[in-house]
């Protein structure tokens, strides 16, 4: 079952909305890190709930997941996961340049994730005439088993995940992370309606 089947026009429209949201999220990240962030075209794919859990369980080197809930109007809500790979965690700490005792590596990851998630979703929401509020971001403890548990304990039934593959290169460094938006069917139907409304304007 894939409720999120998009027409070519809907896909193009969603991609452009996401590009604009990504651009502003990178700008925020660049300001935060006081450097330039090189941005690639983010790729988007949709994944059914069951497949996602299987895929994430197979991903051996996932080191950290930061999870943050979001709520808009008209049934648009979900959970944003930022998934980091093992080899990137140290680089992020280097990038942020915190003193060792200033903030723990966990807190740095939460900081950076929240900047990306909330900027991205604020800009995305504004473009579809919506507005988001957020739960506090949380870092999942020792990822391996807790991720699938976390996914199963979600307070709403999510049917589909929209996976946005983000690659950030920051001058000498680069790190990859996946932003995965888990959204329920009502939100998917609503987003499609909004895409059609935008497309009808052209």
């Amino acid at each position: 079952m894939n409720e999120f089947h998009l027409t070519e026009d809907q896909q193009d429209c969603l991609q452009e909305l996401i590009n604009i949201a990504m651009g502003q999220a990178s700008d925020q990240l660049a300001r935060y890190l006081d450097t330039f962030v090189y941005l690639k075209v983010p790729s988007i794919e949709s994944v059914a709930a069951k497949e996602l859990i299987e895929a994430l369980n197979q991903q051996q080197n996932t080191m950290a997941v930061v999870s943050q809930g979001f709520f808009g109007y008209e049934g648009i809500r979900g959970e944003a996961l930022l998934v980091y790979q093992d080899e990137d965690s140290g680089r992020i700490a280097d990038l942020l340049g915190y003193e060792p005792d200033e903030l723990s590596q966990d807190e740095q990851l939460i900081d950076i994730s929240s900047i990306l998630t909330t900027t991205f979703l604020n800009v995305f929401a504004r473009q579809i005439d919506n507005q988001m509020s957020y739960n506090a971001p949380k870092l999942l403890p020792s990822v391996q088993n807790s991720l699938s548990e976390h996914l199963q304990q979600m307070t709403f039934n999510w049917d589909l995940a929209l996976k946005v593959n983000i690659n950030y290169q920051v001058t000498d460094y680069s790190f990859n992370c996946n932003m995965i938006l888990l959204i329920p069917e009502t939100a998917i139907i609503n987003i499609k309606k909004v895409l059609d409304r935008i497309l009808a304007e052209f």
């Binding site: 026009d9 452009e16 990178s26 700008d27 052209f202």
Partner: protein
């Protein structure tokens, strides 16, 4: 008289957004390109006067197009329209000869205003 216009963006929607932001009399003489390589081919063979250029594209990106324009010594006016709004990027494209940096999504009044500022309207 309307100038010959090229719109280069990998997104169909973004190209349409630019198109409908243009002054009405300009819309008849518009060509489009979906990536940097296509844009450079058109630029080389035609006399494009105004180019609206996206930055983040697969293959040759907007920066590559700006560099190509410099190398080929083409005289078109380039307006960059991009989601990559970092200040450093904005100054970089201007250093490469772009007239203006316009943030996405483009609004008709903003675009018209810039065209007037540069004496194109």
């Amino acid at each position: 008289m309307s100038p010959s216009v090229l719109i280069c963006d990998d997104s169909n929607m973004a190209r349409k957004q630019v198109l409908r932001s243009l002054p009405e009399q300009w819309r008849t003489s518009v060509q489009t390109a979906t990536n940097g390589a296509e844009a450079l081919t058109i630029l080389r063979d035609n006399s494009v006067e105004v180019l609206f250029l996206d930055l983040t594209m697969p293959g040759i990106d907007g920066i590559g197009v700006l560099q190509g324009i410099q190398k080929l010594k083409l005289s078109c006016s380039v307006f960059v329209i991009s989601a990559d709004i970092q200040p450093e990027m904005q100054s970089k494209v201007k250093a490469l000869g772009a007239k203006e940096f316009i943030r996405k999504p483009v609004k008709p009044d903003v675009l018209i205003n810039y065209l007037q500022q540069h004496g194109l309207l």
